[in-house]
Symmetry: C2
Subunit: 292 residues, 2 copies
Amino acid sequence: MNLQAYLSKNKKVIDRALDKFLPEARSSYIAKVMRYSVFAGGKRFRPALMLLVCEALSGKVKQVLAAACAVELIHTFTLIHDDLPCMDDDDYRRGKLTSHKKFGEDMATLAGDAMQALAYEILLKETKGVSLQYKMRALETILEAIGSDGVVTGQVLDIQSEGKKISLSALENIHLKKTAALIQAAVKAAAILCGASTKKITQLDRYAQHLGLSFQIADDLLDYTSSFAKMGKQPGSDKKQKKSTYVSLLGKEKARQLMVKERDQTRRAISFLGKKGKRLAELADFVIKRER
Amino acid sequence: MNLQAYLSKNKKVIDRALDKFLPEARSSYIAKVMRYSVFAGGKRFRPALMLLVCEALSGKVKQVLAAACAVELIHTFTLIHDDLPCMDDDDYRRGKLTSHKKFGEDMATLAGDAMQALAYEILLKETKGVSLQYKMRALETILEAIGSDGVVTGQVLDIQSEGKKISLSALENIHLKKTAALIQAAVKAAAILCGASTKKITQLDRYAQHLGLSFQIADDLLDYTSSFAKMGKQPGSDKKQKKSTYVSLLGKEKARQLMVKERDQTRRAISFLGKKGKRLAELADFVIKRER
């Protein structure tokens, strides 16, 4: 099976699990609002990555499935809030109306809040075949990636850098927190839930960090060349144009070189996995070649 | 020591712990935004209640202190989001500018998001002298109180009932979720962390539910009679006036009777504690007599 086929198989596994773990749409209004965004065509990149890590470590799907869904919910909740008028003010995402355009800002804000809590609840209640201790460590790892040293601060720095010319290292710092932090937490949580050693977790963390950065550079390159049809959202919206990107700071060619360099470092980080790391290495290639 | 003195002693314990558990203001911008709201003069009602439950069950402060701070952070995060222009649109709370008036809507939204994650992180990392299993159950109890069957749905129903005449049972349902759910979770989490039996937890849950409702009715009565000076926020703001309250549905006298009835039920629920329940019974009186 090639990686594409493999990823779409994994996507189905994740979609089924999300459908099972989320409250039914008819159970409450907010459940309906949450489901709209969760099933709005996400690629399930982070959970698919977690399933790949699980496989590379010879773990079982049931050990990471709930955590994978939790990470997808966290990702979705941050997107809902990032799309709000007070932040990136996006009307569309993946060709569909954003949550606040569909349900109003109040409901979008609340759906994000409920989704964050639900993510942790699912991780705690639906993770199977894992000791309490590992479950707790996985949850802690994910929680650490959100707050004042992670995703939220990435978003804060991103907002604060609007309209400013920032340095490359400042841009990297933004994306380490805004994009890489959750990808790293996802990979580490999967490794913890599969009982990996500290040494292996550290290597996988490094893999995920470089993967996250190459993912972001690829995003910037895609944004630069994309059209609405391909992206499913408005390219270069006002606020977006005011933000520094790898392309705006380095130019297209140098950004591409940096992306390839990051990709190479992902490979090095997982050399310890030998043949078992094949899919993860392929994913690192996929990330920099993908069309969204 | 009378209850007032006791509560202010507990408040100091909580404030010190919050100061210790929260990231330093200089560590990140969002830490500064979070600290502003956390230290904006909250009465620490929920954490103080948890310390009282702990004492009534002969537990140790260190067993519940982190969870008490977590609950206060969750309460604060919901206030920050509820105050946003897309929800209750409040400019002041406790006489100080609300987070979005001080730091902007984007930062207020993000501070709330970070605070939710931080709350759970603190509970997991800083709870002492408790088994992993109890810690997990306490966390699950709190998580269940947030999402689609708890606080968030309470807020949704509250927003959806604006400008409508609703029934008394619909109003009670709103406040069971919006106000009582977190108070119940706080009390149950404290009881779990102190190793209480299922039977005792059920009784304390009942206590907390009636306490939450009497708390809300007292709030409505206060809102009805208060002035800006007393409340520290604008009484009867436009959106507020469009909402049903116990006073608008029942009139002042019947609302007061219902409040006393709820208070009486709190007493019955904790009769099993005997003398040890004295403070909790006093608190139920305090709640309906308080000035904010």
